[in-house]
Symmetry: C2
Subunit: 222 residues, 2 copies
C-alpha cells in the first residue's frame, strides 16, 4: 500500500502555515511590514486561532519577528544577513552534498535524474514561476537528501527559505536562469560519477552565482 504521506508531515493541521510560508518566501509581503492579523484572517479565510498558531511557528522558524505586545513583523533584509546566509549555505550544503554522494544509492540516482528533468521541463511562464520554484527547491532537496543528517537537512531548508527571500525580490531573468540550469545538470553528472570534491566545488560556484543575483536584486531595492 503506497499510502500518500502529506508533504510537510506532522504539522499538516493548518494549510495556512504553508500558504503563509510560501507568500513570505515569495515576497508577497514587504520586508519590515507589520502584519495586520485581521486582514490576514480575511485574506486567507481562516480563524484567528489557527492563524496565530501558524504565525507563532513561522516566528520560531525565522520567517517572522514576534515583538512583545506588538504583533508580528516581516524581518528586514540586509546586506550583512544575505552574506551570512549565502556563506552558511555554502558550508552546509557543500557538506551535505559530499556526504550524500558517499551514501546515496541507486534510488537516489533515479530521483535525482527525475528531479532535474522535471525542473528543466518546468514552464517558467506558468503561474508566475511558482511551479518552477517548487521544483527548484525539490531538486536541491533531493540532491542532499541522503546526507544522513536530519538536522543538517533541516538547517539547509531553513537557509534556503531565507535565501529565497532575497533571490526572489526582483523579476525573472531568463539569461541567468539558463546558466544556473546548466549547473543543475552538471551537478547531477558529478553526483552520478560520485565525484564529491568536484561536486562541492561546483555547488560553491552555484551558490555564489545565485548570491550575485540575489545581491543585485537586493541592491535594486525592490
Amino acid at each position: 500500500m503506497n499510502k500518500h504521506i502529506p508533504l510537510s508531515a506532522g504539522t499538516a493541521s493548518s494549510p495556512i502555515y504553508d500558504a503563509l510560508r510560501r507568500d513570505l518566501v515569495g515576497g508577497r509581503f514587504a520586508a519590515g511590514e507589520k502584519l495586520a492579523i485581521n486582514a490576514l484572517k480575511e485574506h486567507y479565510q481562516v480563524g484567528l486561532s489557527p492563524l496565530r498558531e501558524a504565525l507563532n511557528k513561522l516566528a520560531a522558524y525565522g520567517l517572522l519577528i514576534q515583538e512583545n505586545q506588538r504583533g508580528f513583523r516581516v524581518p528586514k533584509l540586509s546586506r550583512e544577513e544575505l552574506d551570512d546566509i549565502a556563506r552558511l549555505r555554502t558550508e552546509l550544503e557543500g557538506m551535505a552534498l559530499e556526504r550524500a554522494i558517499v551514501h546515496g544509492d541507486a534510488v537516489w540516482e533515479a530521483d535525482l535524474l527525475a528531479a532535474a528533468h522535471r525542473l528543466k521541463r518546468a514552464d517558467v511562464s506558468l503561474d508566475k514561476g511558482e511551479e518552477w520554484e517548487r521544483l527548484h527547491t525539490q531538486f536541491h532537496r533531493t540532491l542532499v537528501a541522503p546526507c544522513g543528517s536530519v538536522w543538517l537537512l533541516r538547517f539547509i531548508e531553513q537557509l534556503h527559505d531565507q535565501f529565497d527571500r532575497y533571490r526572489r525580490l526582483g523579476p525573472k531573468m531568463p539569461s541567468i536562469r539558463q546558466e544556473l540550469d546548466e549547473q543543475h545538470h552538471q551537478l547531477v553528472e558529478l553526483a552520478l560519477h560520485r565525484d564529491g570534491k568536484a561536486a562541492r566545488a561546483l555547488m560553491d560556484d552555484h551558490i555564489h552565482k545565485s548570491y550575485e543575483v540575489a545581491l543585485a536584486r537586493y541592491q535594486a531595492h525592490a
Copy 2:
C-alpha cells in the same frame, strides 16, 4: 545605560515558553510522552491560548512533535540522532569558534573570562544543578558569540538544546564534570592566545567527551 535585555528577546510575551523549554531540555518529561494539555495548563497556571502558542513555537524549534489532530508529543531519543547532533555540533561549533577567535575583541575576552569564572564558581549542588546548566550554556554561547553569523549561532543554540536532552538524562557525575571544567579553562586560554586551530581541536575533543557521557546515559535507558 546598561538596560537589561531579556535573554530570549522578542518572544518574551510568554514566560511559559521558557519554562517549557527548560523542562523539556532538562528531561522533566519522558521521551515519547504525549503532553496532556489540560494538565500542563494547570501545572504552569496558564491559559489555553498562550500555552498552545508556546507549544507551537517549541514544535517549530524541534523540542516537540506536533501530530495532526493528536496534540503534542516529546520527541523520541535515538542513538542515530545523538550521533547526528554531536557530529553537527562539532562541525558548527568548531567553525564558529575559529571565526570568533578571529573577530572577538577585548570586550569578548573579558566576557569570556567572566563566564568561565562564574561557571567554575557555580554551586552544582544548589537547585539540582540548574544554575550550573544555565552558566554552562552561557559560557559556550559567549565563546562563539563574535563569530559574525547570526544564523550559525541560532543553529548552534538549537543543537545545544537537543544535545542536552541526552546529556542530562542521568544523574550528575562530578568526576567527569572536573575534566570538562578543566577543558573550559583551556578553551579560554587558547581563545585569548588567538590560537584558532588548537582551540578548534580542543573543542572537538570537548564535544566528543560530552558525547560519550551523553551516550552512556542514553544507553543506561533512563
